[in-house]
């Protein structure tokens, strides 16, 4: 299935409020934060979609919001789709999809580590790459570089 067919089928299967945006490079489905768990569940478990692989989960720091990007791939049907979820910058909280794809565990920790987006329902949301006592989230556009870390000049 191509991306628009996937969207039409998904629209028929779920009652969630979703939008489709076509582009030759990366066609994506825009999902509300509250619906991501249900949409992910349908895409993962429905035999027509069977998106069994979460290839990547990352975030874009836009001027007004964070956009969480989910890149999905189906090993069975060899089709792929992208999901995007927008969340406000001052209170960035998105439901975790760890229960749907266990690969999301580390991806979400990475996004939390570098952008500070919190994932509700994640089993172990702690930093994955930076030291535990690090302050701030370095990939945010408004990140201020600290002068020193543990007495060593940065």
């Amino acid at each position: 299935m191509n991306a628009s067919e996937i969207f039409e089928k998904l629209k028929a299967r779920s009652r969630e409020d979703i939008e489709f945006q076509d582009s030759p490079l990366l066609p994506f489905i825009k999902v509300k934060p509250d619906s991501i768990r249900n949409v992910a569940d349908i895409l993962r478990n429905n035999t027509d979609f069977r998106f069994d692989s979460l290839m990547c989960l990352t975030t874009v720091d836009n001027p007004t919001n964070f956009t969480i990007v989910y890149l999905l791939y189906s090993m069975k049907h060899s089709h792929k789709i992208t999901l995007k979820v927008e969340t406000p910058k001052d209170n960035a909280v998105v439901p975790s999809v760890e229960k749907v794809w266990s690969a999301a565990n580390w991806f979400e920790r990475e996004v939390y580590d570098l952008f500070g987006v919190r994932f509700e329902g994640h089993s172990n949301l702690v930093r994955i790459m930076l030291p535990d006592d690090w302050e701030g989230h370095p990939l945010k556009k408004d990140y201020q570089y600290p002068a020193t870390y543990r007495g060593v000049v940065l």
């Binding site: 790459m129 930076l130 030291p131 370095p138 990140y143 570089y145 600290p146 870390y149 543990r150 060593v152 000049v153 940065l154």
Partner: protein
């Protein structure tokens, strides 16, 4: 009748303790086997047959820092790794030597500006004897650094550290 009796009576060498000790130290440098980034691949290549670091007596890469006396800091040191690198250095027994291999270990390399996670040179946390520039340095450069270190060791005296 001992085994060596009457066999070495015409052969003996007179030398200084310094020369003898330094000769031993310089020609059996045992590196710690650990690598931090891509420089470690060049370090491994140096250990293999084509470049053969064994020609300089430094082929015994020890997995335990307590058995080693040379630390080749091969690669990028992130701030998270810095405390571990320092711990390994402190676990090594005296006399111990450090070679900073590659631009990252010398100065931070390509990460020297605007990097939040990379330590700007191994010499910020541990004393470095030889710096080997390059990104990564070729095995010949590592061997050149090793020979420089051997030269340094041969000049030392046990009277002062």
């Amino acid at each position: 009748m001992g085994l060596i009796e009457n066999r070495f009576n015409k052969n003996f060498i007179v030398t200084s303790a310094d020369y003898f000790i330094n000769w031993g130290r310089a020609n059996s440098l045992w590196p710690v086997s650990f690598g931090l980034a891509c420089c470690a691949i060049e370090m491994m290549a140096t250990g293999m047959a084509r470049y053969d670091i064994a020609r300089f007596g430094a082929e015994a890469f020890r997995p335990s820092p307590r058995q080693a006396d040379l630390m080749i800091v091969a690669g990028t040191i992130s701030h998270k790794m810095a405390s571990r690198v320092k711990l390994i250095y402190e676990q090594m027994s005296e006399p111990k030597y450090v070679m900073a291999m590659g631009s990252c270990a010398c100065s931070g390399g390509p990460f020297v500006k605007n990097s939040y996670s990379v330590l700007k040179g191994a010499d910020l946390i541990i004393p470095v004897d030889v710096y080997i520039p390059g990104c990564p340095p070729r095995p010949e450069a590592l061997l050149e650094g090793l020979m420089k270190l051997q030269k340094q060791i041969r000049r030392r005296t046990i009277a002062k550290k």
